[in-house]
Amino acid sequence: EAGVTQFPSHSVIEKGQTVTLRCDPISGHDNLYWYRRVMGKEIKFLLHFVKESKQDESGMPNNRFLAERTGGTYSTLKVQPAELEDSGVYFCASSQARGFNRELFFGEGSRLTVL
């Protein structure tokens, strides 16, 4: 069974440009999460989808970040325009159940470098 896949694995862009990260969750997982790790900091929650609906987007830094989940399958996270402080590793995770069952399956991450 395929795990959570993320694309691209690494992206280098100039400040002011746009980048779109993609996440394909494990098939059948309704819950999809985005997290981010900025260098030297802890992994931080960005948002949570249940199927195609945003359940919690309290961690999104600002309105330069837009997340979508088309048809409840894959998800994209767009950063427009990118700023230097957006550099970091963006992780996607998925899970089948909610609530107290928190076995999240993480992808390998998309490393974003903004120059």
Binding site: V4, I43, K44, F91, G109
Partner: protein
């Protein structure tokens, strides 16, 4: 103020040398405490969930315990393949519907 603090930041052990990693938390209304392992260039891999003080869980050479303010990840007779960053995370009332709050992790190196 950090809500989840892990110590030490880094730990180097000899193969077979047992030790413990600490995760302390300051949140109220804990719903669950989670341990993950992360290898370089990979995403976090789930290890354990603990829900209440006094609970313990084991997996191979790892044992996780939980008190009201901290959790320990005990590593018994570690092997080089146990080298990784170990992450602690909590879910708590008021912490967002389903978001996990992570610590910065402990980077563990087991030398042969």
């Amino acid at each position: 103020e950090d809500q989840v603090t892990q110590s030490p930041e880094a730990l180097r052990l000899q193969e077979g040398e047992s030790s413990s990693l600490n995760c302390s938390y300051t949140v109220s209304g804990l719903r669950g405490l989670f341990w993950y392992r992360q290898d370089p260039g990979k995403g976090p891999e789930f290890l354990f969930t603990l829900y209440s003080a006094g609970e313990e869980k084991e997996k191979e050479r790892l044992k996780a315990t939980l008190t009201k303010k901290e959790s320990f990840l005990h590593i018994t007779a570690p092997k080089p393949e146990d080298s990784a960053t170990y992450l602690c995370a909590v879910q708590y009332l008021g912490g967002g519907a389903d978001g996990l709050t992570f610590g910065k992790g402990t980077h563990l190196i087991i030398q042969p």
